[in-house]
Assembly symmetry: C2
Amino acid sequence: MSRNEITFRHATRADLPSIVCMLVDDELGSQRERYEDPLPQSYYAAFEQIDIDPNHELVVAELNGEVIGTLHLMFLPSISVQGSLRAQIESVRVDRNHRNHGIGNEMMKWTIERARERGAHVVQLTTHESRADAHRFYERLGFKASHVGMKLSLK
Amino acid sequence: MSRNEITFRHATRADLPSIVCMLVDDELGSQRERYEDPLPQSYYAAFEQIDIDPNHELVVAELNGEVIGTLHLMFLPSISVQGSLRAQIESVRVDRNHRNHGIGNEMMKWTIERARERGAHVVQLTTHESRADAHRFYERLGFKASHVGMKLSLK
């Protein structure tokens, strides 16, 4: 397959509609996001908090000037493991029209390299137990499914 | 059982030896921590980063003026779920001499209330798949084991 190069950059406020559009276009996301014009203000408020914090990187992947993927990379200082830095990935999405072309793989490789650059000792993430394809995808990248991810809803 | 009240507060630098002592006293922790006098400088460096960040709360539980438990509570802004705040718990430990007295339960109830106060929509954590007792403990508190926790070591 030949194609143009994917580039990565930090998201700007203007990318939020593209990001939310990808978050909502998903079996789980469709139940909890609101993709409207204008977007609910809560998305912008969260963006501001992420944008000012150097331990958070909201990332978009672009192909030919179009946003086709997103992920949220965060760096978490920790006392454990001798005070090591953890990298954590949340909210990984690839645009529906660009799936199954290896883009998720490139996004993860970029992210792992970024975590390494910043000195993280581990990259961690959780995926819903129903996402069997995602588990295989991350295992191919070297992730081990060593933990159980537990959530308590407060709303 | 009657006993004095457990109190909670943010950890100070002076609590680090007690915290690391609890982290190392564990099947997994014993392989990755270094409880020495003085403690390796990396623990203090991590503490400074946690201490200055209002989205991180390193917490100790005290009984009669003695530190008997610790956990690291973090608040993670997120675009997903309409820009909701997530609370995440890491590095939960109870001193070996005080286990099986409901202290972990009180620590978690305090933490869940704290997450609620700060407006988090979810509390999330992962536990090693080998910690079956921990899974039952968190399920009794209302957590759902809905996710697979995956880790990639970079060292």
